[in-house]
């Protein structure tokens, strides 16, 4: 317990007891949804319907209704795909990577972030599906034995995408569900209604919270975290390979894999901040999702934003250093060509504005972080736009230079994908515990076996010697005394 570190191990504010946490979180999944939820849902669902209608229109009329043209074969659909996959990465970072790093503050936000991952991946997968010209033959990308004895081309990063994103979705879903089981059992035990009990009993898999359950659960969770971590890094690296394996100036560069991953975490965290700021306000979770949580997320946004900015500078420098005229032109064209507006939006939003988070006062100001998190996501959408469009519209042959203009279908589907995302997120808020209750309880001071101890060696009676013989018993004793500050807890 450091001096001047009030927020260390004080993840839950307001002297809550275990019961208070259960009440706070479960209530929202049990009570009737308020009017505001229905209003929000109606808006979001109309976006979903718009998306479906436009996709039907695209399939019926052909992909010519999008703004793509001959030099720019990849337009907004791919931009949106990379954008949504990127959004999803923060959830896995929070749930898996921070778990491996024993960052206990993740417990309050990991459930919502994981849900966000799933929905973002759903929103991502629709783009590669619908941007192909012949949707009905898309199963040819799967290596299924068939009467033509034809197989997909395993050297194509677009095929790697199929495997990467689909396995990412499956693992994320499993990870999220495994984490949910104890909480669903809590809801099951609180359920009053016959059908509600039955449904929750089915989904909580007979969880009783026995010691053996917990042991296996923790092991499973750790293994899934260990598997999800390389998975999440590889998924966005594979997405970056879509560009980087080509020979196109502006696409073909080796820094793409780690740089795309950093950008994904950057935009994903921004989205988490956007959603959490609203959620904690509306659902009264300020004692669980505290300002310290938000501040830590903002620090991660600052770090990853700086990494992304550093990658921009590296690319620019290497374009000059390489002395390859095409590469040099590609970057000059980005900064001063017809799409300079997009490039400078990207630069401003991603490199310059997040630097405001160097100031503690701004990091901890809710309006500032809310505004900035939206700015970051605008910037990250433009980053993908800049990479995709500006590299395509002018490359080796000046005779095949063009310009890309989005059509109303492009705009409508992008708006619709936000509708789909919010529809799913609102359903999650309505039916599923939005904070991992069991995990939050695990990091509360009351969960520490030494919590009720005030004398002795800090161990309960009959526990014998501590596991590790400390080098400085006095220091350890002082630490323990500091770790159990007398707090009035409403037991």
């Amino acid at each position: 317990m450091g001096e001047g570190e009030p927020d260390r191990d004080r993840l839950v504010r307001g002297h809550l007891s275990f019961h208070d946490v259960t009440e706070m979180v479960s209530r929202h999944a049990e009570k009737k949804a308020p009017m505001a939820w229905y209003v929000a849902f109606a808006v979001a669902f109309s976006g979903t319907l718009l998306l479906l209608a436009l996709f039907a229109y695209v399939v019926w009329n052909g992909i010519g209704v999008w703004g793509n043209n001959q030099p720019v074969g990849w337009g907004w659909p791919i931009v949106n795909f990379v954008f949504w996959v990127g959004i999803g990465h923060a959830g896995t970072l929070i749930s898996a990577i921070l778990y491996l790093f024993r960052q206990h503050w993740r417990t309050a936000i990991n459930r919502a972030a994981e849900a966000m991952t799933l929905f973002a991946v759903v929103c991502a997968l629709i783009w590669p599906t619908f941007h192909v010209g012949r949707l009905w033959a898309i199963y040819w990308t799967l290596p299924i034995p068939n009467q033509m004895a034809m197989w997909p081309q395993f050297k194509s990063p677009l095929l790697w995408d199929v495997f990467a994103v689909s396995s990412y979705f499956i693992v994320s879903l499993l990870f999220w569900y495994v984490g949910l089981v104890p909480d669903l059992a809590t809801l099951r035990d609180r359920a009053k209604n016959f059908w509600r009990q039955r449904i929750l009993a089915f989904f909580s898999l007979g969880w009783t919270g026995s010691n053996r359950h917990w042991r296996n659960y923790e092991k499973a969770y750790l293994l899934l975290a260990g598997l999800a971590t390389p998975l999440v890094l590889s998924v966005h690296s594979v997405v970056s390979f879509d560009f980087a394996v080509s020979v196109l100036p502006g696409w073909h560069t080796t820094i793409f894999p780690p740089y795309f991953v950093a950008g994904a975490i950057f935009s994903g965290f921004a989205m988490v901040v956007t959603l959490m700021v609203i959620t904690r306000e509306v659902y009264g979770l300020k004692n669980l999702i505290t300002i310290d949580h938000l501040e830590k997320m903002n620090i991660i946004i600052l770090v990853t934003g700086s990494i992304v900015g550093f990658a921009y500078i590296t690319e620019f420098f290497m374009a000059w250093y390489s002395q390859v005229e095409y590469e040099q032109y590609a970057f000059l064209n980005r900064a001063f060509g017809p799409y300079a507006w997009a490039y400078w939006i990207m630069m401003t939003c991603n490199l310059i504005t997040p630097q405001l988070f160097w100031f503690k006062r701004l990091r901890r100001s809710v309006p500032v972080m809310f505004a900035l998190s939206i700015v970051v996501n605008i910037g990250m959408w433009f980053e993908r736009f800049v990479i995709t469009i500006t590299s395509l519209h002018r490359d080796f042959l000046p005779s095949s230079w063009g310009y890309f203009t989005a059509t109303w279908v492009d705009i409508g589907t992008l708006v619709g994908s936000f509708g789909l995302f919010l529809t799913l997120f609102l359903l999650f808020l309505r039916f599923v515990p939005m904070v991992a209750m069991s995990e939050v309880k695990g990091v509360m001071p009351q969960a520490d076996p030494h919590f009720h101890e005030h004398e002795g060696n800090g161990h309960v009676e009959g526990d014998g010697e501590p596991y590790i013989t400390p080098a400085e018993p006095a220091l350890v004793k002082a630490y323990r005394a500091g770790g159990t500050e007398d707090e009035e807890t409403s037991a």
């Binding site: 317990m1 390979f241 394996v245 780690p258 990494i307 550093f310 390489s322 002395q323 080098a471 220091l475």
Partner: protein
Amino acid sequence: MADEINRSSFLKWLVDPIESTNDVAKRAYRFVGNRRVWLVPLALGIALLTVSALGLVQSPEDFFFAYLAGWSFLLTTALGGLFFLIFNHITRASWSVVVNRINETLVWAFPLLLVLGVPLLFGMHDLYHWTHEALYDPSSPQYDEVLAGKRAYLNVPFWSVRIIVYFAAWTLLSYRLYTFSLRQDVDPDPELQKKLRSTSAWGLPLLAVTTAFASYDILMSTDPHWFSTIFGVYFFAGGTLCAVAVISLVTLLLQRTGGLLQNVVTPEHYHDLGKYLFGFVIFWAYIAFSQYMLYWYGGIPEETVWFQHRLRGGWAWHSAVLVLFHFLVPFLILLPQITKRSTVVMSIMSVWIIGMHWFDLHWIVLPVIRDGGGFHWLDITCWLGLTGIFAGALMYRLGRHPLVPQNHPYLGESLQFENM
């Protein structure tokens, strides 16, 4: 007393800028070794470098490239240690406090490295093809249009200024992180902890940018036609991996041979160090593979040439060794929990990874002059000679101060630390 920086001799400042604070060390953290700890590696290092000087007469080119590989090995390790220390400060890590001092001791290396780098200046003409004036003379048969285009960046005066700037930045950062922490041993002022964290915060972007550009200047420009945007990350990944291995190895040596840090560094801490080794083995492989795969896939001649050199002739074996023994074997060994908690396995793996990191740099540097692969005796003597001097200085510093930052606010937590 600890505030007095000893300016009496430059040599002493190079090795340790702070007067010995061993007298304030609590019993559990007091260094009780004798002089052999640092004299033996130092003597070996000086002897090996003296032998290498004979090689300088015999074949200067081999000497300079071998020296560059050995020196880069130490530089990347020191930089990796600086990154690792900064990460732990910024994230308020408590598990690492018991090995922090060893990390800090590793980090005060840049002034010494700058001095050890002086011989390279005499080999600039051999090492860096772009220093040849004829390349820039349009009437000369050696005229090189591409290099002439890069001349604004690759020229000796500007290059020297950049190197000085990098070293100034690294020295400043390591000086602050090292000395604030040593002062904390004497005076548990909470301000010092804040200073350590704020230095880490502004130091991280500074360190990242300087490290990346240093990697282009020192290693990438040995093959001045070739370029790769990920090269700086590659440099960082290998260096950090090696730094964690050095920290583990020094801790193990103190514990196993000196009987120090008993019950301070426990299997719990080795477990975490092992996790970091494991993680950075994967990270290094990810970066190395990304760089290779993207160039192989694109197949653009000016980019593949660098790998062509390293996959033909004798170098193909080196590349295979890197894949197998820099990645696959450490990956499989460090995967289970039990190996990371075993001091025997961790000792072997630390030494192994340190050796492989040098092998990696050897694979980057030497193909520039040698087509057939293999080793020259100078490669080994330069590397071990430089490492001996470096290790001697490190052990000497370590013996002058408490082995653990004894007033660190999270020390109690660190001593208490348990993984499971």
